[in-house]
């Protein structure tokens, strides 16, 4: 068996870190710890994006997920606890069924994918002078590309902003 290249070793370490943190997210009892394990999972995913040469997506992942969404989770956890302790079981009574379903979904996905011809393909080298950010920017605002989904997404964010403020507003 040939030695693994450095890239493969790095991928294995990061993937193990990400999956381990994800497991801790869904099994830990203390909810604030679960949110912090989510932060480490998201950071692992950001490193995966960097390994895939998508550095804009990697940085945006840290800014949006860790800088906003994870903070939102931590705030929500701290605002919805009657005391500082966690009580009661944290998995419901059908947890073994959930585990079986999750394992089935995982094996089903892997089985489906491995029938695809490009499953074990390796990545092509990046073309020289490749400017992913310029291309992404053009794709997002060009009428032949994806300007309509981009604008609709911004309207969606506006609707979510108004809705979230209205729902959570404390009318005293």
């Amino acid at each position: 068996m040939k030695l693994m290249t450095a890239q493969q070793i790095i991928f294995l370490i990061v993937a193990a870190f990400t999956l381990g943190s994800a497991l801790m997210v869904v099994t830990t009892r203390n909810l604030v710890h679960a949110a912090l394990w989510l932060v480490s999972t998201l950071f692992g995913v950001a490193v995966i994006y960097a390994l895939l040469n998508a550095n804009f997506i990697a940085v945006v992942q840290v800014v949006i997920y860790i800088g906003a969404i994870a903070i939102l989770f931590i705030f929500a956890v701290m605002l919805t606890r009657r005391d500082m302790r966690d009580s009661g079981p944290q998995l419901n009574s059908n947890w073994w069924l959930g585990a079986i379903v999750a394992a089935l979904v995982f094996t089903g996905l892997v089985f489906l994918l491995q029938g695809w011809s490009g499953f074990t393909g390796t990545a092509a080298d990046l073309p020289s002078g490749f400017d992913p950010i310029g291309l992404l920017g053009e794709a997002l605002v060009s009428p032949e590309a994806y300007v309509l989904p981009f604008e609709v997404a911004s309207v969606l964010l506006l609707a979510a902003l108004v809705g979230a403020v209205y729902v959570a507003f404390n009318k005293k």
Binding site: V25, V26, L31, Y49, A54, G118, G121, A139, A164
Partner: protein, 102 residues
């Protein structure tokens, strides 16, 4: 060189773990954490498909940017709903919020 199968298996595993979280946790916020994991798995899938096919075709990255926006919207509205429900019912256990109006 990392074959694409590794990234796809990682995404599938992350999706499975998120699904386990959604199906088995009692706390509503913990369910939303599971949904987060599933959305991240989807994003990893999209970006790996972008990288391993034609890199000049930006559809994969555009799709994943739209998924970022949708995730942010969903998380904010979901958490607002959970906080509002907590104020009325004084609980966040999903099992205990079982009556529409009382």
């Amino acid at each position: 060189m990392v074959p694409q199968s590794w990234y796809l298996i990682l995404a599938a595993a992350l999706f499975g773990i998120g699904l386990f979280g959604v199906l088995t946790r009692r706390n509503a916020i913990a369910i939303l954490l599971g949904v987060e994991l599933m959305l991240n798995a989807v994003n990893v899938n999209l970006v790996s498909f972008w990288r391993y096919s034609d890199v000049l075709n930006m559809s994969g990255q555009v799709f994943s940017v739209i998924v970022f926006a949708v995730t942010a919207a969903e998380v904010s509205v979901g958490l607002a709903l959970v906080i509002s429900a907590y104020r009325r019912r004084n609980t966040v256990i999903a099992n205990d919020m079982d009556m529409l109006k009382f």
